[in-house]
Symmetry: C2
Subunit: 143 residues, 2 copies
DNA sequence: AATTAATCAGATATGTTTGTCTGATTAAAA
DNA sequence: TTTTAATCAGACAAACATATCTGATTAATT
């Protein structure tokens, strides 16, 4: 295995990034998102539904309904999606799985992993979705 | 979720680290390893069995049998265990799950993740088990 | 030679993640 | 007002990860 984020979380991140490239207040159907990202439609739909409960995504029912971001992309960070879907467990536990890994009882790679973890956290908190816009568009429109 | 290594891999890393603290050529029973590390005995046994196929662990059957490292701890790196159990997939794929993530078609965090990934790889390749010995002993003998 | 204590192999069980299906509800458009 | 196309809720299914069980094999000890 060896996974950083669950599939659910990966899809959630991709979908939210996709929504951040759209005009504010235009809802996008799960079908369009699924097609653009090559994700099962029902699955991405469920994921976005759950993100509405966290105030990240807005949804409109009925014909020509769909999903949009619930707030301005400059108010959303990648960590918000990760926290909502996978939780922040990785930023606590020991990378080798030792119990009670701490400064007092460190595992052999405790310090190095600590540094890495901080950098990873920073990668997810340092920028907001709007700052990724160009890169996101470029990625999603390409193989 | 959000996992770096599978349970299998975590247990494998712990077990191999434990074995590296023992005198060369003394075999340790799965039961002792399981107790010391609070891991299900049958599970750690299976994991070590599979590591014998990779030439990392040596096993001796029969009464007073058990497991030992198949080579000197200064010849074994953490990455060897990871490669054997989880594979090196994390060091290839896109952290956000985008397909074909590459320098030409980078995802929004491509560069930052690349740096992190290199550091993680270095953490697993930069030292050999013997260099962890003191820290491993200290960790395993404590809560 | 019999007993004992270990690995080993393979089947089975349990749990979680991932993915699909069905029908209810909602609201725009005809 | 009917049709249509979407979310939504909940059940279901398939795949995989985790864990346990059973019995065979092995080899030291009695």
């Amino acid at each position: 295995m060896t996974v950083i984020f669950s599939k659910k979380c990966e899809y959630g991140l991709q979908a939210v990034l996709y929504l951040s490239t759209k005009e504010e207040d235009t809802v996008i159907s799960a079908e369009e998102i699924a097609k653009k990202l090559s994700i099962p439609k029902e699955f991405v739909s469920k994921i976005l539904q759950s993100l509405t409960e966290y105030g990240i995504v807005y949804s409109r029912k009925g014909k020509s309904g769909g999903f949009a971001l619930a707030k301005n992309p400059n108010k959303i960070k990648l960590i918000d999606i990760v926290a909502a879907i996978d939780g922040l467990g990785v930023f606590n536990g020991c990378v080798l799985g030792f119990p009670n890994c701490s400064p007092d009882y460190p595992c052999p790679v405790h310090d190095k992993w600590g540094t890495l973890r901080t950098m990873a956290y920073d990668m997810l908190t340092g920028q907001t979705l709007d700052q990724f816009k160009n890169r996101t568009i470029n990625k999603i429109n390409n193989p």
